[in-house]
């Protein structure tokens, strides 16, 4: 699926939630299910520093696609990270670089991307694109 298709699917999934609570319960669930990053990658140089919650991000390049794994010490952040990975992992570098992430806004989680939110998510998206950019330059 393309980045756009995945985003649209997520928007549809989220449209079934009637209130904030079920939405957040789902995000928390995603956080709990996120395949853990290899402990070896939870190092300081793979740490994206948000002000409050910490996010580790690792990128692999396999068969022309970027595979992201990540983790966070906060479960809601982890859930949101999981959404980002659903959308951007297993995609070609150039598609990641050129992607426009509108789904967060559409599913009503825009506040989590505000810079004051200090959850490291904004820096994470930036870092994902940087990895992709570096890899697409190599290709």
């Amino acid at each position: 699926m393309t980045i756009k298709e995945i985003q649209n699917e997520l928007i549809e999934d989220f449209s079934f939630f009637e209130d904030w609570m079920s939405k957040y319960e789902y995000i928390i669930q995603l956080g709990k299910e996120l395949p853990l990053i290899n402990e070896a990658y939870k190092t300081d140089d793979l740490l994206i520093k948000g002000c409050q919650s910490r996010v580790w991000l690792h990128a692999d390049y396999q068969d022309g696609k970027v595979v992201f794994t990540a983790d966070s010490d906060a479960i809601i952040t982890k859930g949101l990270v999981s959404l980002m990975i659903k959308v951007l992992s297993n995609q070609q570098p150039k598609d990641i670089v050129n992607s426009e992430l509108y789904f967060i806004d559409e599913i009503g989680l825009k506040e989590h991307l505000s810079p004051t939110r200090a959850n490291g998510l904004v820096s994470m998206v930036k870092q994902m694109k940087l990895y992709a950019m570096a890899l697409s330059a190599k290709v």
Partner: protein
């Protein structure tokens, strides 16, 4: 709790009637900033409607009106903290500005290579970094008073840190993260035995505890207007005359001069020597309204009410399964930091926000303190004169909800 009529107090703060995410706002982030009473809000409008003009400059009527109003604040601050002289009250932009002014000007004059500065393990970054910068610049050493697991200063360790090389002791009156009230009077007395001046960071004390800088014998005392129901962008540096006279100016510019020639400038007298440039006039003037408001309610009443509320909140939170309170000092004021076992403070904060409860989460600008307790941060509820037991009950329910979702 009959120290005052809480309903009429709450009616004075319009923002308390607003809703967040469809829920009535429960504002428990007063350590970050307090809400403003109508008396302050109206004074701000009045200022721009009737008084706006630059201070200490013009001979025209409006400039005189603004200057008089601005100087009334200085008088009120003097009384509020019982300073000996009005010229010991330097208007700043806030606590951070005050500390930077002292570290820079006092440091220039008195701190040399090999000297030592003492701070404590529970300081806000604003009372760490300026001293660190000074120490780096002067090749001096920063010494830190350790704290106990309860969050109390180790006074015997403090005593052993004092010696003739120490040039300044800078400690907080009330910890913004732990709520600990430090024995500042004793800290000052001990430092003075070595002739060492003491700066007290009063940012979290000034709105809760009656402060008498002469009784404390503090050499410097700093605080912010916005944490005491006043406007943002104004603060106070109290300094003993003898120190302020000996310190060089902070910034050069207008207002701080008596005479400017290209060969040499004669600096203005106190306090103007430290007040270069046009200040935040609106905030400066309206700080007086905040002080009046506190005085009308009575700081003593506020103190009693808040102490009782803090006790209630501490008990209520201790009754919640899995809650661990960080900072359990005997003497505490208005702040409860806690962790919910197995949940990251950030996650708890997000859920509380959804339920209309405003708390602070994170390291509260005290990263070394978080390291001391080996935790990533805390959830902090901080109370003010307008908070109620019902709001504490809402907080507790919200925490239980967060626990059920997160754990």
């Amino acid at each position: 709790m009959t120290h005052y009529d809480i309903h009429s107090i709450r009616a004075d703060f319009p923002i308390l009637k607003t809703t967040v995410n469809g829920k009535p706002l429960v504002y428990l982030d007063n350590g970050a900033t307090t809400q403003k009473p109508l008396a302050v809000i109206n004074a701000i409008t009045d200022y721009y409607t009737l008084k706006n003009s630059n201070v200490h400059r013009g001979v025209h009527h409006l400039s005189q009106v603004a200057t008089d109003a601005y100087e009334i604040t200085r008088k009120k601050v003097k009384h509020y903290i019982n300073a000996a002289h009005e010229h010991e009250i330097v208007m700043t932009s806030g606590t951070t500005h005050g500390i930077n002014l002292v570290s820079s000007c006092y440091g220039k004059q008195f701190v040399k290579a090999g000297d030592e500065i003492i701070i404590s393990a529970m300081e806000h970054h604003s009372n760490i970094v300026p001293w660190q910068m000074l120490c780096e610049e002067r090749n001096a050493t920063l010494k830190v008073i350790p704290i106990s697991d309860d969050g109390e200063l180790d006074m015997s360790a403090y005593r052993s840190l004092l010696n003739d090389r120490v040039k300044m002791v800078a400690v907080t009156y009330v910890s913004n993260t732990l709520g600990t009230i430090n024995p500042v009077k004793e800290i000052i007395k001990l430092a003075h035995e070595y002739g060492v001046p003491v700066l007290i960071d009063g940012a979290q004390a000034i709105q809760h505890i009656a402060v008498d800088v002469q009784a404390l014998d503090a050499d410097f005392f700093v605080f912010s207007g916005h944490k005491m129901y006043g406007p943002t962008g104004v603060g106070v540096l109290y300094g003993k005359e003898k120190w302020l006279e000996l310190m060089p100016p902070y910034q050069g510019g207008g207002d701080m001069i008596k005479e400017v020639k290209f060969e040499k400038t004669i600096y203005n007298e106190l306090p103007f020597k430290f007040e270069a440039g046009t200040p935040n006039i609106e905030a400066g003037i309206c700080l007086a309204n905040a002080i009046d408001y506190i005085n009308e309610v009575g700081l003593n009443n506020i103190s009693l009410y808040e102490t009782e509320l803090l006790k209630y909140a501490t008990k209520a939170l201790n009754d919640v399964e899995g809650i661990r309170i960080i900072g359990t000092s005997q003497e505490k004021s208005s702040v409860i930091s806690f962790l919910l076992d197995g949940a990251h403070p950030y996650d708890v904060g997000v859920i509380l926000d959804k339920l209309g409860v405003a708390v602070r989460t994170g390291h509260h600008c005290t990263q070394p303190l978080m390291e001391r307790f080996a935790i990533p941060g805390t959830v902090r509820a901080s109370i003010a004169m307008y908070n109620t037991k019902e709001e504490i009950d809402t907080l507790v329910l919200a925490i239980k909800k967060a626990a059920s979702m997160l754990l």
